[in-house]
Symmetry: C2
Subunit: 352 residues, 2 copies
């Protein structure tokens, strides 16, 4: 394992000084063209590469930013990462991506590691376990800019990019109500999650707006997952006064609910409407395709990086950007013929 070639090596071989070699490679004006030529040739031949640590040691800016996510393999995060990456590369930055695995302790470690790397800034989405944010505060001491996205903390001290959880849930619920649904089931994740609280708020708000009585039995908040979606929907369909629509907070919940409705022998959307926060690319996987609230992950990533870069460049302004979700109505939430006037005399044959 031999040592990489250094400027010194080149200088010695050429019998000139290190400074000259350095300047020649930088194409400095104060070096003769002949010398430049000679140096470049040898550098290429010897496969010289500048040592980035020496450069960083001098400049103290490695052009790296750190990204902390709860989980890399989830599409939502990986697509945001991808967008951040693209934006970063465009500005000459590299990214170090670390995962907290939804764990407070690991997240703490991640922050430490990134500080030790002297990243120029950090983009973070906090883990589900995190309620204390002091491990992020050390970044302020180190003068390392921090921007949160999606799940945020320290909102008075750092910029953030979030989605419109309240509004999107409200919009989705309103959409169902406008199409004649009266008993909308809300199927979410654990109650303590911010995202669940906010969306529930939007859901309830829509019900109030439309003067629909609120029924606690229609709200099921447990965990996220296919089976849980199936169970929740099954239960809501078995009520004396059953649900005629569902708003599901995740993709797996939505597909679980889909299955439950079908297994019950009910039709979508004729008997039960379904809408969920799911990925565009999966909406067509079933028939009818699912109406979906979709996150604009590319926007989230791009905006987050933009805010961070601003801070890196010295801005101290604290900004909060909201990236709205997009509602795409597909077959699962709207009856084919028209709105909702045909409750009784059904003419539509079993579709599919």
């Amino acid at each position: 394992m031999k040592r990489p070639v250094s400027l010194k090596d080149l200088a010695e071989e050429l019998g000139v000084s290190i400074s000259t070699v350095s300047r020649a490679l930088k194409n400095s004006g104060e070096v003769s063209d002949a010398m430049k030529e000679k140096v470049r040739k040898l550098a290429k031949e010897k496969k010289y590469r500048p040592n980035p640590f020496a450069v960083s040691l001098l400049k103290n800016s490695p052009r790296i930013i750190g990204i902390i996510v709860p989980d890399i393999a989830t599409y939502y995060y990986s697509s945001i990462i991808s967008a951040i990456n693209q934006a970063a590369v465009k500005e000459g930055y590299s990214t170090i991506i670390v995962s907290s695995d939804e764990t407070y302790e690991i997240e703490k470690q991640c922050v430490e590691n990134l500080i030790n790397f002297r990243v120029e800034g950090i983009l973070a989405c906090v883990s589900q376990q995190t309620s204390d944010f002091s491990h992020f505060e050390v970044l302020f001491d180190q003068n390392i800019p921090l921007v949160f996205f999606d799940r945020v903390g320290l909102s008075e001290k750092s910029s953030c990019v979030i989605t419109d959880n309240v509004e999107s849930a409200q919009t989705a619920t309103a959409h169902l109500l406008e199409n004649g649904r009266k008993r909308i089931g809300f199927i979410g994740g654990a109650n303590h999650l911010n995202i669940v609280k906010l969306r529930k708020h939007g859901y309830l708000q829509a019900l109030r707006d439309y003067k629909i009585p609120i029924d606690k039995d229609l709200v099921v908040c447990k965990e996220i997952g296919y089976e849980l979606g199936y169970e929740a929907a099954s239960r809501l369909l078995a009520l004396a006064n059953p649900s005629d629509a569902f708003l599901c907070l995740s993709e797996s919940l939505a597909f679980g609910a889909f299955k439950a409705i079908r297994d019950k022998g009910l039709r979508i959307p004729d008997d039960v409407a379904l809408i969920g926060y799911i990925d565009e690319i999966h909406a067509d996987y079933v028939s009818p395709p699912l109406s979906a609230m979709t996150h604009q992950t590319a926007q989230i990533g791009k905006t987050s990086f933009k805010l961070l870069l601003k801070q890196i460049k010295g801005s101290t302004e604290i900004e909060k950007k909201i990236i709205p979700c997009i509602l795409t109505v597909r077959g699962s939430s709207v009856k084919k013929a028209a709105g909702n006037q045909l409750e009784a005399p059904k003419t539509t044959p079993a579709q599919e």
Copy 2:
């Protein structure tokens, strides 16, 4: 933007030498406890952090590895990345993840960037465009270990981790044949892709094994995508002698084919069987759930890192590891009642 605190700063403030401070912080035996105490207290107070560049400059091993993937947001890659990450962290390594966006030029740049970072090693999955691998050869000049995974190159010179494309396709095809299918459609991506070639090979091999005549019309290799799966399946079902089963090389192709079968008014698996290379978590999204060949992404990631670490530690052995896919039989490929005894008097019952 003030300069971070250095050892020198601490030393001056305490009126001792830099060496002493350095030793005290390393808990060296040759420093008095009183001094250690004093130094540590001040370090904490001043929020001292060792400068990683200075350390790396000295040691020349930043404990970073680079990962090059064609696309971060695809579950297959992100889950492999996640596994690599976990393995790396466990060994005290950090990872830099870069994406080639399936582009040769960007990939070339990625390699350059990682070299410039002096990563200790690189794990790479080449882009679809890449057919020339000389940009990877420079790594050998720089003594930077390189291990390919999934899509490989330079196989005589570097270790790699691949999946059993031929065998898995053969197994999947055999599974369909054993269940009485005769006209299995092969729906793949672009013909020039290695993965397509290999799997087609496995498919054809299975047909030969079972003495089923090969029909070129049943092989459709275009692009990957939901619509393309839909089209391909529609076409194969419209043949004079139509398909009675499909092997789809990707998730989107499989779901597209699923839709096509249904739209044609055919039943799955009674009329047409379906099997595909899809993610476990999505297999249940439809009814019947999809039989699937699944990649063991965790294994791929873990093994890749292991091989790389070995090389970093000095091994020059070139290894090739094959991580098999796993066949999980679900409703889409096997008729409920029994295998296929109605077709002909075969004795093998449906295996599962």
